[in-house]
Subunit: 353 residues, 2 copies
DNA sequence: ACACTCGTCTATCGCGCTCTAGTCACCGCT
DNA sequence: AGCGGTGACTAGAGCGCGATAGACGAGTGT
């Protein structure tokens, strides 16, 4: 089994096991038919008899033939590929991607992933995706300015997930941030909290809405004097920083609404290192309900975004826009729902703190 | 700003902003040169004067031209694309991917990601990758049987990361599992533990080695009677299940070596829900040192695998094999190192438990 | 005057596939 | 016989690009 095929190899020829990959022409020759017929068979189109179909498939199998997507894409007007930009560190994106694959497959599309990274900014990721002939883009939580998104949307169907993006030609799918935050504040106030801090998400998608909703909800509870927004973003690091800031104060707030789950994780990390117990000393609420939130022993109270529904709608939007380019921009807003778990509890009595 | 461009659109023509994407020919026409020259410029090859170069680039920019990768790949013998299979739920894979992007870019390669999922098994992922003309495959923690990997390796340079895969034509990069596990056991024994359970990873990459190393290390400490291996895999779910199993016993072990970090997370989840405190009541060690392990407030003691080095070596292996197909299979084994954090401590005195 | 080189640019083939417009044999029908 | 119709198959153009061989003019040396 090892090193078979060596008998045909002269000193100058390549090792035969790594010969050029077979093409349609090879399959056609072996099956004794024309290239076109092989194409028909592989596209599963009518126009070939049962026997030849089998003969061709057998020949292809023997040669280890595999259709070449690049050539396919090139020859076809449509590529049937959706490009998805992800932050590979973001557990919520993982949830989204799984659902995107499922829905794309259902609709007959392929999915290409490209991840952000320290050396890969959003433009680079988008370039890579477009370079691979993606027909449409699905951007998970992009930070890019609206103008850039609009520019993209002008020539490529683009769906932004997880943030508002009022650009013509761009569809957006996001949750009703205000509802989610409001529920969070209501829950905490219901437990008896008053000193409720919000860690902001900075430029991150959805942050502005969450911040505003927090302020509005606090005011509605006549807690406008307790409003406090700490700077941050959507990484664990920012949660940690915010935690350290809080620890420097002479008195901790009794509850924190983090910008997202990752931020909440970092925050809890910093707090528990300092001996602060959650939820006894302080309550924490996250945002996303990524799989990490409920599987880790953190058992985080958080605002649930329905990843599956978001992903499904995003894919459908993209495909619908592909079918009809003149569709007006749509903004799909899903409901958010607070999921109460173990990181929230009534506050300690403050009178002896 | 809304609906601009409508002035050029007759009822039957497409909205002009979404016309066909421009090609080299369009750029050439606009710049008043031949197609070939545009090609030269975009490949950054010598053979064009400074002025025409600029003129062409300007024309391309005005048209919003973007080279088409599919066509590029097709025309070129080389595609310069590496295909990477990931489990998008696995935080350690995220660490690996970031480093893979970096090294690939350094060597002039592109990276295509394809993720496993409920409806996407390994074969499907590999098919997708190969279909997109990846020259080489990097498989992160594949479960596939060796025969299949060997088959892949026979026609495509393949690098397996995170597990042994003794197949000709396949390179592997993994850590010295035995060293890592041994350090874990040594650490626990040094703290005074004796009842040390291991949660197995089942078919998951590296599991067999970890299991064997655990058993060997236990024997070396004359703890062969304490050896206990619970079934599991590398998901949070399996850790949870194992935790429940342990909780059913009349007496908990004093320490657990989980199959990986995710398993450890699930385990800690189950235990702490049941009121078991970590590390006071029980010590837990993970495996991978994924970014989750140190950023979450879990502060997990774990066996560090150097993601960056693994990724770098994997990419280099793939590229070297691409340069010379006849290279013998290599197995690169990196050192593992226990990182002691907060989930391990001396055991409670057992005499009153 | 010649051949020769060099830098700049062009014509053209082919990558592996899809897809339109056919060809061809065979059928039942008038 | 002649007709249109149908199912099975093929020829060939073209997708957007890379790459090679060569064209062309300007300079160089003899």
């Amino acid at each position: 089994m090892l090193e078979e095929g060596a008998e045909t190899a002269s000193p100058t020829t390549r090792v035969s096991t790594r010969a050029k990959r077979p093409t349609m022409a090879d399959v056609a020759a072996r099956a004794g038919v024309s290239r076109a017929l092989v194409s028909i068979v592989f596209r599963n189109e009518p126009g070939a008899s049962r026997e030849t179909r089998e003969r061709i498939l057998r020949a292809a199998d023997e040669l280890g033939y595999r259709p070449d997507n690049a050539a396919r894409l090139l020859a076809r007007s449509r590529s049937m590929v959706l490009g998805v930009m992800i932050n590979i560190r973001n557990a919520f994106h993982a949830d989204l991607v799984e659902a995107i694959y499922a829905e794309a497959e259902r609709l007959g599309y392929e999915v290409l992933l490209s991840a952000l990274g320290p050396t890969r900014d959003e433009r680079k990721v988008v370039e890579a995706l477009l370079g691979h002939r993606c027909e449409a883009l699905i951007l998970l939580g992009p930070n890019a300015e609206t103008a850039y998104l609009a520019e993209l949307g002008a020539h490529t169907p683009t769906v932004v997930v997880g943030r508002r993006a009022p650009a013509s030609g761009v569809d957006t799918v996001h949750t009703a941030e205000n509802k989610g935050m409001r529920q969070g504040v209501d829950h905490l106030v219901g437990l008896g909290h008053r000193a409720i801090v919000h860690i902001d998400g900075g430029d991150e998608p959805g942050s502005a809405e969450r911040r505003q909703a927090y302020c509005a909800a606090m005011r509605d509870h006549a807690l406008q004097d307790e409003i406090r927004v700490l700077p941050g973003d959507h990484t664990e690091e920012s949660g940690k920083t915010a935690g350290e800031t809080l620890l420097h104060d002479d008195r901790l707030p009794t509850a924190v609404l983090a910008g997202n789950d990752r931020c909440a994780m970092g925050l809890m990390n910093a707090l528990s290192r300092a001996g602060v117990s959650i939820p006894k000393d302080i309550s924490v609420i996250g945002y996303d309900d990524s799989h990490i939130a409920h599987l880790s022993h953190i058992n985080l109270t958080t605002v649930r975004q329905d990843a599956e529904q978001m992903a499904t709608l995003a894919v459908r939007s993209a495909v619908e826009r592909l079918d009809d380019h003149r569709l007006p921009s749509r903004e799909l807003i899903l409901d958010a729902r607070l999921v109460v778990r173990g990181t929230t509890a009534p506050p300690r009595h403050r009178d002896r703190s």
